[in-house]
Every structure is written in C-alpha cells, then in structure tokens.
C-alpha cells in the first residue's frame, strides 16, 4: 500500500516539476508577452495542482489535505483572474 502511494506521489510530483520547468522555459523563450502569459498559467495551474495531488495522500490528517486543496484552489483562482486582467491590459497596449 505504501509502495503504491509512493509511486503515485513520484509520478504526480514528477509531472508537476515538469510543468514548472516547461513554464520557465516558455517564460524565457516565447517571443511576446501574450504567449508568455499563456505558459505562465500552465505552471500555475497544472504544476502546483499535480504537486498538491502527489502530496495529498501523504497528509497526516484530513484537515491538512484540505489545506493543500484550498491552497491550490486559491492559486488557481488568482491565476485565472490575473491572467484575464493582464491579457486585457496587454490588448489595450498597457504594459
């Protein structure tokens, strides 16, 4: 059972780290602000989400697991709303 949990964490956290790497590469390599905004949301949403998913079975209590989930939900909400706002500001030429 614990081996199964470890394997699940390993896969999920590994994938999360991958998305952070991808997000950083995109932030550095993509040509303009709008495309960079696009990769940023991948790291925010998927990267942190997969890491939270991988850590959740390792939580000591239900409250701890819930806190992990709320942390991700808050970042998800903030990321989605600010991406929208940044995108709108960019389209109006405000940089």
């Amino acid at each position: 059972m614990s081996l199964l949990v470890d394997l699940f964490s390993l896969a999920s956290i590994g994938a999360g780290v991958f998305f952070f790497v991808a997000g950083t590469v995109g932030l550095l390599r993509f040509p303009d602000s709008l495309t960079r905004l696009h990769v940023l949301s991948k790291a925010d949403n998927l990267g942190l989400g997969l890491i939270v998913l991988g850590l959740m079975p390792r939580a000591d209590s239900l409250l701890e697991a819930l806190k992990l989930l709320v942390t991700w939900a808050l970042v998800l909400l903030s990321g989605a709303a600010t991406s929208q706002l940044i995108g709108r500001a960019l389209r109006r030429g405000r940089k």
Binding site: F20, R36, L48, T71, G79, K95
Partner: protein, 90 residues
C-alpha cells in the same frame, strides 16, 4: 522518498529562479511581474514539498497565506497601469 521531495523542491526553485531572468530582461514591466508571479507559485510548491520532507509544523499555513497573496502584487500593478492610461494624471 524524502530525498525525492527535496530534489523536486530544489529543481522547482532553480528553474523558477532562472525564470527570474525576465526581471532583468523585461522588456515591459508586465513581463517582470509575470516572473515574480511564477516565483510565487513555484515558492508555494517548493515550500509544500520541503514541509512534507522535513516535517516542520505550520508550513501549510504559510503556504496558505502565500496563496492568498498570489494576486496581490499583480492587482496593485494593474490598478496603476490602468490609471496611467486613463489620462486622469498619476
């Protein structure tokens, strides 16, 4: 397993830090801001990973606080940028 969690945390911190090169390069202030936002998210992820590996109590609350403030700087920045373009003076 703990070594793996810590390695993951280290990898995230390093990559996100490389992304901070955007603060140096710009070219716009908004690009710089995006790099800081990526650091914020990466910092939360690395913090959670380190917390589960080293078992320091209370770290989940710190991550929660950081998540609450993830949009804080961006909101302040956009408010100023919008005001500038409105032509109503600074």
């Amino acid at each position: 397993m703990n070594q793996f969690l810590l390695a993951g945390a280290g990898l995230i911190i390093v990559t996100v830090a490389i992304g901070l090169a955007r603060i140096l390069r710009g070219p716009h202030d908004i690009d710089r801001l995006m790099a800081v936002q990526l650091l914020g998210t990466g910092g939360i992820a690395a913090l959670l990973l380190t917390a589960y590996a080293t078992k320091v109590p209370g770290v989940d609350d710190v991550a929660l606080g950081l998540a609450l403030l993830a949009a804080f700087a961006t909101m302040a920045f956009l408010n100023l940028v919008d005001a500038d373009e409105g032509g109503a003076g600074s």
